[in-house]
């Protein structure tokens, strides 16, 4: 069982509205006042998917094991973007960058050499728009 919507979730602030008696203002007014993280992080809800990062070789670029990735599949990848890509049947997070003048999928860890884009079975899955690192459970 599930609810299905690709739209942003309702505002948590709405639940607190009961406390303000005597202000029969419509809910939309609140939407203009309360900041919504969905609006900030999710530009294209229909094309946005959440993934969990696994591994330590992207720590140099701020992605830690267990982090939440906000992946937008509608973004055209450009050099410098962090991508989710399929590489030999594996789903990988890499940075799309030049290495010796040619486009490669790079990790921030010296242990893992850049993967050249031309001679591999590499397929784009999506572009990472944001990373959420939670400090408290």
């Amino acid at each position: 069982m599930m609810s299905l919507t690709s739209q942003p979730l309702p505002f948590p602030a709405l639940h607190g509205r009961a406390g303000f008696s005597g202000f029969p203002s419509p809910a939309q007014d609140y939407e203009h006042r309360t900041l919504d993280l969905n609006v900030r992080l999710i530009k294209n809800p229909t094309q946005t998917f959440y993934l969990t990062a696994r591994g330590d070789s992207m720590e140099g670029w701020g992605i830690f094991d267990g982090d939440l990735l906000v992946v937008d599949r509608s973004v055209q990848p450009r050099l410098g973007h962090i991508l989710v890509a399929m590489f030999n049947e594996e789903v990988l997070i890499k940075r799309y960058a030049l290495h010796h003048g040619a486009p490669h999928l790079c990790s921030s860890h010296p242990h893992y050499p850049p993967l050249p884009l031309d001679d591999t079975e590499c397929q784009l899955w999506g572009v990472v728009r944001a990373v959420v690192h939670e400090y408290l459970p």
Binding site: M2, L4, T46, A53, L69, E90, S107, H111, Y112
Partner: protein
């Protein structure tokens, strides 16, 4: 021009978005309770494994790794369907969902070239943005658009987009070789009656005098003939393809945001759908409900939610369908929205008789009553309350929950994982 966007092997394609390793492999999606094939990848079709095959007959192939079986993940399919509809809504002035993976788009006043370009662009965009392969059929009428889609799927040189104009030679050639039973809304029985009257192909039907058809058969058949000629005269809902899905929906006279009123409307639709279901002697495996706000009212908040509720067992019981509708509405309802339309769709229908047969065909080792009891307990006490002491090799499909993919888009604890380097996912996943 009317377009029909139809996903290829939708359930399998949804699975592949999040399990890219399944790409290019023979994949079957199994129903949850009777464990038989309800969706197949092209590779699975090529192995000539028919729909409805019970899982235990495929156990050998599965163990050898020749095929991959997953049990149905309705939450995932429902969410991907909602995304597909939303993507089309963002691109086209008017969209009407026809089934979970078929949506009509209306491209009024656009020429052939422009329509073909839009079709190709949509197909590319859906593939890139959602990961789903689709085909697009374009034509002046619903009936021809459905045929165009069929052609786009079957004939690779169309590259997934086929446009049939009413009088082109391609349309003529296609209709001449197409059995009349392949035309939208024409079932086997009617096709037999038509054959007696010398109507064998879609072209034969198109040439018929529609007044004669109306007298001899029905208004709907007369209109179908006109539609084949390119004269639009059928509403999308006039034709029910029996034994695939049943949809009942209606626009409200006046927009409403009141939950009780929405439930009232959905209740009517559910009751009507259940009647149709029993009439055609089918059972449904899942119930999809949807609501729409008025997209032309830019001043109002827009919301087009859907909920897909799988049933514990395939059913034609109105009470069970109503319970599913209540549950679904509870999930998607939000106050402060003005809804103008509500609908109920029964999906993944199964023949009542066939269902009874498949229960009889269960392997002797597993007692059907025992299985039902176990299911009931597991459903009440939580999945996995009762386990079977069988090794994997013996385990029949009843341990099916192990085969369900994660609900990647609807559960925070079931997200897809991506590794920062090859092997990272295994290395960093803590053992359970």
């Amino acid at each position: 021009m009317i377009g029909l966007v139809d996903a290829n092997n939708f359930y399998v394609s949804c699975e592949r978005v999040f399990s890219p390793a399944l790409e290019g492999k023979a994949v079957g999606v199994m129903s949850n309770n009777d464990g038989c094939v309800i969706a197949r990848s092209a590779e699975m079709k090529a192995l000539e494994i028919p729909m409805g095959t019970p899982a235990f007959q495929l156990e050998g192939l599965r163990r050898r790794g020749a095929i991959h079986l997953v049990s149905s993940n309705y939450e995932l399919y429902g969410d991907m369907s909602a995304r597909l509809a939303q993507l089309l809504r963002d691109a086209c002035p008017k969209v009407a969902p026809y089934s979970i993976d078929e949506m009509f788009i209306y491209l009024d006043g656009l020429g052939t070239t422009k329509c073909l370009a839009i079709g190709a662009a949509l197909r590319r965009r859906i593939r890139r943005h959602l990961g789903l392969p689709v085909c697009v059929g374009l034509a002046p009428t619903h009936t021809l658009a459905k045929l165009a889609n069929h052609v786009a799927k079957k004939q690779p040189h169309y590259q997934g987009v086929c446009l049939l104009s009413e009088n082109s030679s391609a349309t003529t050639a296609l209709l001449k070789q197409l059995p009349v039973s392949d035309v939208w809304g024409i079932g086997k029985r009617l096709a037999n009656q038509l054959a007696i009257n010398g109507i064998h192909t879609a072209w034969d039907l198109r040439k018929c005098d529609h007044k004669r058809l109306r007298q001899q058969f029905s208004v709907v058949l007369a209109r179908t003939a006109l539609e084949l000629r390119g004269t639009p005269c059928l509403q999308m809902n006039a034709l029910e393809q029996p034994r695939q899905r049943i949809m009942t929906s209606r626009s409200f006279g006046k927009a409403t945001g009141i939950k009780a009123e929405l439930y009232g409307a959905l209740q009517c639709h559910a009751q009507r759908s259940a009647e149709k279901l029993r009439q055609q002697r089918s059972l449904t495996r899942a119930v999809l409900l949807f609501l729409s706000t008025n997209r032309h009212r830019k001043d109002q908040p827009q919301y087009f939610p859907r909920a897909m509720v799988p049933l514990p067992t395939p059913s034609d019981d109105t009470r069970i369908i109503l319970a599913a509708v209540r549950e679904g509405l509870e999930q998607i309802y939000r106050p402060h929205h003005h809804f103008i339309k509500a609908g109920v769709m029964l999906v993944d229908l199964v023949d009542t008789q066939q269902q009874q047969l498949s229960l009889l065909q269960r392997p002797a080792k597993t007692h059907p009553h025992l299985m039902e009891t176990v299911d009931a307990i597991n459903q009440r006490m939580g999945q996995g309350t009762i386990h079977f002491g069988m090794t994997d090799a013996q385990a029949p499909w009843q341990l099916r929950c192990a085969h369900r993919s994660k609900r990647y888009t609807t559960r925070w604890d079931e997200l897809m994982e991506a590794g920062t380097h090859p092997g990272a996912i295994q290395a960093f996943t803590s053992p359970p």
